[in-house]
């Protein structure tokens, strides 16, 4: 198990574009860390600097205490799974998997063992003599994974590996790849723009924006307690309630929206200041109209299978809410409902970071 450290890593291109700005990151041994961000946020550039495909402008990449910032890609012992899989089209599945082992000058019987082991790990045994063009997209991805697992890399780098798979297969591969990574204990960095994928697979997520890390933490931590509006909106849905602070007691503010008022913890709040509060749709519960935080009327009701989706007109503005489907009767469009939440569900986040 290997530890990967990134210190002050930056990349500025010759035209002055700063793709990555001073990224610091510690990936613990055996950890699964995701770099999450929209396109152009610098996540892929960061990965490519770690892999050694592009030289950083400043900063250092350290693997198990050894500075590998300027080491050639073939000297890094990292396995990369590419978005296009980058299989060798002129080689069979077996030859693809053997390639990295042959480069390591391994003896033939060992090569055969490793190849068989890797292919069985990704459940591709029996397809050794196929060419990549004869495989489905999912099978190609498995070959790409087997090819890097065979060399037992110190770090596994995954560059949007799921984006060419259909939704169902992607779901299966998330579970399978995560299980494989846990079992082998390989330190892994995943680059993705899919926040569900990042949350599902990672021990920790680094949300990137404008070439820097905007948020870093465990999936639940950054989803429930984001420190920036950008991260909060990027990681999932959120209702925004805008109002004015009417009173403050300790850190608890009473925020007035029209004639209604809600309370929330607002760090450093000042009376009279305009404030945005955020609440995730699943935290808003529909309750009888006589015992609730705010009353409203159902504008839209959508059935999503596992979930009901509501849009409700209230004094606080339009609020979106989701509720698990237990097979029971639900309020219909036009009906009056109450909305309730618990203390702490309404969140105040400091300021905007990134391109939010």
């Amino acid at each position: 198990m290997s530890k990967l450290s990134i210190h002050g890593l930056s990349k500025t291109y010759s035209d002055g574009f700063q793709a990555v700005r001073k990224v610091d990151l510690e990936v613990q041994a055996g950890e699964f860390l995701s770099l999450l961000g929209s396109s152009g946020c610098g996540k892929t550039t960061t990965l490519q600097m770690v892999a050694g495909f592009i030289p950083p402008t400043t900063g250092a990449v350290v693997l198990d205490g050894r500075d590998i910032t300027h080491a050639a890609p073939e000297k890094r012992d990292m396995g990369v799974v590419f978005q296009s899989y980058a299989l060798f089209p002129h080689m069979t599945v077996a030859q693809n998997v053997r390639f990295g082992l042959e480069m390591r000058k391994m003896k033939r019987p060992q090569v055969d063992d490793r190849m068989a082991e890797s292919l069985s790990m990704v459940r591709l045994s029996g397809l050794e003599n196929r060419y990549p063009s004869e495989l489905s997209g999912g099978q190609r991805q498995r070959v790409a994974i087997a090819r890097v697992l065979a060399i037992r890399p110190r770090v596994l780098l995954l560059d949007e590996p799921m984006s060419n798979l259909d939704a169902k297969l992607r779901g299966e591969m998330h579970v399978e790849l995560r299980a494989l990574q846990r079992r082998l204990g390989i330190t892994t960095v995943l680059v993705t723009h899919d926040q569900a994928e990042a949350m599902m697979m990672s021990d920790r997520i680094a949300v990137m924006a404008n070439g820097g890390i905007a948020e870093l933490g465990t999936p639940q931590n950054i989803y429930d307690h984001p420190t920036s509006e950008f991260a909060l909106k990027f990681l999932g849905q959120a209702n925004v309630i805008t109002g004015e602070i009417a009173s403050m007691q300790d850190e608890i503010a009473a925020v007035r929206i029209g004639s209604a008022s809600v309370t929330a913890k607002v760090a450093g709040g000042q009376i009279g200041r305009q404030t945005k509060l955020f609440v995730r749709p699943e935290r808003l519960r529909l309750t009888p109209a006589d015992n609730c935080n705010v009353k409203g009327t159902v504008l839209t009701r959508l059935f999503l299978g596992g979930l009901w989706f509501y849009e409700i007109e209230t004094e606080l503005g339009k609020l979106r809410s989701t509720a698990a489907n237990f097979g029971t009767a639900q309020p219909n469009e036009g009906e009056a409902v109450g909305i309730s939440w618990s203390d702490g569900d309404l969140q105040f986040v400091a300021s905007e970071v990134g391109n939010g």
Partner: protein, 289 residues
């Protein structure tokens, strides 16, 4: 739109008639006539007679002189092809690494030879290659040669000039294959532990082979059937199949014999093309499926 075209009402035949007529009249008919001519009897006094004979073919196939001509032509074409691969492959790789502005400029430079009339280009080369030409002057002033090197009217000269003309075909063929190679494949090979050279040899080059082979077919066939360059640069001294055909038709006036050599050249080239195509299809079926 598409439906109208596929349904057709006879107008498609009318519209393609000029092209078909040209193809038929200017390619198929002369070829057929040449083939027929090659079976005619030649009489030194009365010219070609319409009696049927295999004599011309027997003359060619039983005479060592013609074997030498065919072998020399094949050797020259092979030489030009190999040099084109050796020069064209690095040049294409180099070109693909350039910025797009420079790529455009260099493509014009590379395609340049094709834009100039064959006669002008060849005469230009004869100025460069002559005993008192630019190349010899440079060689002597750099003390690389004591006396002028004979380049005009030699096989070396013919190969140099043909290579200049054929290189663009090779580069275009390799370039089009190179565009299909996934750029990440090289990265994948590097991260799996292969150095730059091994990556090229084991991963990039095998994917370029189909392009190299199809470029080679083009260069080989065009070189083997080239006439103007061998005639003007090689002159009387470098005898090739094409110049021999020319001589039979215009000097000896033995049209049937010339036709027989021409038909044999055509068959030879067709054999090489079909053979290589078979090889490519069998060997690289998987790569670009």
């Amino acid at each position: 739109m598409a439906e109208k075209v596929t349904r057709g009402n006879g107008s498609q035949w009318l519209l393609s008639l000029p092209a078909l007529a040209m193809f038929l009249g200017l390619l198929i008919v002369p070829l057929a006539l040449t083939a027929i001519l090659s079976f005619n009897v030649f009489d030194a006094v009365r010219g070609s007679q319409s009696n049927f004979t295999f004599g011309n073919y027997i003359d060619v196939l039983s005479d060592g002189y013609y074997y030498e001509l065919f072998l020399r032509t094949a050797g020259m074409s092979l030489g030009v092809t190999v040099i084109c691969v050796v020069l064209g492959l690095p040049e294409t790789l180099f070109l693909s690494r350039m910025r797009s502005v420079w790529q455009g400029t260099f493509f014009v430079v590379i395609l340049g030879p094709l834009l100039i009339s064959v006669v002008v280009r060849t005469l230009g080369w004869s100025i460069l290659l002559g005993r008192d030409g630019v190349i010899n002057n440079v060689l002597i002033s750099l003390k690389l040669a004591q006396r002028p090197v004979q380049l005009m009217f030699t096989m070396t000269g013919v190969v140099i000039v043909l290579t200049h003309v054929m290189l663009p075909f090779m580069i275009i063929a390799i370039w089009s294959t190179l565009q299909k190679v996934d750029a990440q494949v090289a990265h994948a090979a590097r991260s799996l532990g292969a150095g730059p050279w091994t990556t090229f040899r084991r991963v990039i080059l095998p994917q370029l082979l189909p392009g190299i082979l199809s470029g080679s077919i083009i260069v080989f066939t065009l070189s083997a059937s080239a006439f103007a360059t061998p005639a003007l640069i090689g002159g009387r001294r470098v005898k090739l199949v094409t110049t021999a055909i020319y001589d039979e038709f215009l000097s000896s006036l033995n049209w049937p014999l010339g036709a027989a050599i021409a038909v044999l050249l055509l068959l030879g080239i067709a054999f090489v093309v079909v053979g290589s195509n078979r090889l490519i299809e069998r060997r690289f079926k998987q790569v670009f499926a």
